[in-house]
């Protein structure tokens, strides 16, 4: 039953932080210099009918907390308001772009997990080998390369010089989209990939040197079995931590990569909306991105509990 209590507590924390985050995002309109109305119109001159519609929609004549309540009620019903720039429902705008962004982040996450953990395990099991040395050098450099600079280098080399990949845009159809999203996904993944590989390598090396592993080796237990049951099982906890943190952080960096590659996604729309002072869009996308960020962090927390039952019991020395 402690397991269910643990899950319930984590879910309650999730709801609480989403509520507070939504309040912070909502308050953005109120703290903006000038009146709430001018913040919502982004300083544009609108016809009186539109102003009346905005005031009614945001209940601008009601007390602050009531305004928040109406807004939240709308948000929970999937209504994020109308974009002042695009003159379209924010939910509709976002729905057409969410797939691209989710696909890009997922693509980068797969690269991080497969290559980062794979390289880390391979180099950690054979310390000092040629693979280990090259992984160490390559990750030391790429860990410090910000995604937007990686994007520039990737475009210069693989799109313009070699012509292997398209430099810009979304592509159409499944295969073409994957083709277009490859360089962006690599740009998004590169520094996280390096960090995950380094942490994995260190964790595997540490676990491989433990006494119980030496004992297993001396008892003639098959090497594959030792690696999977005795080394990786224990190394999985730090690896999950760092992979989870880095993958969650992709959500913010995504905006930069989408802009660098001119991809139409939530991130590039967010940046565009911020430039246009299109607050309804900024609020809607921020809300979704924060929710995704918080949910990924929850998933990582739950994974811990699966990997290390002490977390549930509250006895783990973390």
């Amino acid at each position: 039953m402690t397991r269910w209590r643990f899950l319930a507590r984590r879910l309650a924390m999730l709801v609480a932080s989403l509520l507070v985050a939504s309040f912070v995002i909502f308050s953005a309109v109120q703290v903006a210099p000038g009146s709430a109305l001018s913040a919502l119109t982004g300083g544009r001159a609108l016809p009186a009918a539109s102003v009346a519609a905005l005031s009614a929609r945001y209940h601008l004549n009601d007390p602050f907390f009531e305004q928040y309540w109406y807004w939240l009620d709308n948000v929970l019903h999937g209504n994020l308001g109308t974009s002042i720039e695009w003159r379209e429902n924010v939910t509709t705008l976002m729905r057409s772009l969410a797939g691209t962004t989710a696909g890009l982040v997922l693509y980068a996450a797969v690269i991080i997990v497969v290559l980062g953990v794979g390289l880390g395990v391979a180099s950690g099991l054979r310390p000092g080998g040629w693979l280990d040395s090259s992984v160490l050098v390559a990750t030391a450099v790429s860990a410090a390369v910000p995604s937007f600079i990686a994007a520039m280098v990737l475009i210069a080399v693989f799109a313009v010089q070699l012509g292997w990949f398209p430099p810009l845009g979304n592509g159409s159809g499944f295969g073409d989209t994957i083709w277009h999203l490859t360089l962006p996904a690599v740009a998004l993944a590169v520094s996280s990939l390096a960090i995950v590989a380094r942490v994995t390598r260190a964790a595997v090396r540490e676990e491989a040197g433990r006494e119980h592993v030496q004992t297993a080796v001396s008892r003639g237990i098959p090497y594959r079995h030792i690696v999977s049951r005795h080394i990786l099982r224990n190394a999985a906890i730090p690896i999950t931590t760092v992979a989870g943190i880095t993958i969650a952080s992709l959500i913010a960096v995504d905006a930069v990569v989408e802009t660098a590659f001119s991809i139409n996604g939530l991130g590039s729309l967010l940046v565009q909306a911020a430039e246009d002072k299109d607050l309804a869009v900024v609020q809607g996308i921020s809300l979704v991105l924060v929710a995704a960020f918080v949910v990924i962090n929850l998933v990582v927390d739950l994974l811990y509990a699966v990997l290390d039952p002490r977390v549930v019991l509250g006895t783990a020395a973390r």
Partner: protein, 289 residues
């Protein structure tokens, strides 16, 4: 068990470390990083005067012309000397992160020490508040803030500083808790020294090596994030020279097969960030956490 506990004269360990030893134990890499950082700081202060050519006025005839005599890095998309703009751009590229680190350190230290000192309800409230800030990735908070307050370095830097506070506060709270349980603190309390005085005069100075290490690492993060925000067009505004701005405005050159100006600015960011990362990690190892 310390001498201070016996003599009743508390002393701060950190104050015994002379300034010259600030880099002791950081190795060759740490020293090399420090040299790069000092150099970058020098350029940030004097770069404007070191720049041999005008950094703002466009000269379209020379747009994307390669390196020639006197212009070792060639010209940018508006025909301005790239080296001059890099030298002048160091200022905004370094001042932004400095402001971010200063603000988040100031607030983070205060919150960490207050929660370690008072514990209980204060501690619980502070960590709940930090948990909420934690839900906002730095770049996202900065974009939100520029949408509300208008694009520019101040809005972006303040938002990033807020987003970094949980990282500073969590690390320092743990260290401050350890420090608070030291016998010298109990000795001072018995002598009737006020809590605020103990925190400011003894606990914070004793955390200084950790604070410096944390600040160094955070400077690297802030530099990357601010450059990214300027790259998005929401931070430093063109035509002000800035490394992040230079990457975005010269990105067109990459498409046209002339990547030098954009990549030169990118290289400046990466070199300085690596220097801060390496030195920060060495300092962190030395501070023993």
């Amino acid at each position: 068990m310390t001498a201070s506990a016996l003599t009743g004269r508390p002393e701060s360990r950190s104050r015994r470390v002379p300034l010259a030893g600030a880099l002791r134990g950081t190795g060759v890499a740490g020293h090399a990083s420090a040299v790069i950082i000092v150099l970058a700081a020098f350029v940030a202060v004097f770069g404007r005067w070191l720049a041999p050519y005008d950094t703002v006025d466009p000269n379209p005839v020379l747009a994307f012309v390669g390196p020639v005599g006197g212009h070792p890095l060639g010209f940018d998309f508006e025909g301005r000397d790239v080296l001059s703009r890099l030298l002048a751009g160091a200022q905004t590229s370094m001042i932004g992160p400095l402001a971010v680190v200063a603000i988040s350190l100031l607030i983070g230290i205060a919150l960490a020490v207050a929660s370690a000192w008072r514990r209980g309800a204060v501690d619980a409230t502070v960590s709940a508040g930090l948990g909420i800030v934690f839900a906002f990735p730095g770049i996202l908070l900065a974009v939100l803030s520029t949408a509300v307050f208008g694009a520019g370095l101040p809005a972006a830097a303040i938002a990033l500083a807020v987003a970094y506070i949980p990282y500073v506060a969590r690390v320092l709270r743990g260290a401050a808790l350890k420090e608070r349980s030291q016998p010298y603190v109990a000795a001072l309390e018995v002598q009737g020294v006020s809590g605020a005085a103990i925190c400011v005069k003894h606990i914070i100075p004793n955390l200084s090596s950790l604070i410096v290490a944390q600040a160094t690492i955070m400077f690297g993060w802030a530099m990357v994030d601010l450059a990214a925000i300027s790259f998005l067009g929401l931070g430093v505004q063109a035509p002000t020279p800035d490394w992040g701005v230079m990457i975005s405005e010269n990105a067109v050159g990459i498409q046209q097969g002339y990547p030098l100006p954009a990549l030169a600015a990118g290289a400046c960011v990466i070199i300085v960030v690596i220097a801060f990362n390496v030195l920060g990690e060495r300092l962190l190892e030395r501070s023993g956490s």
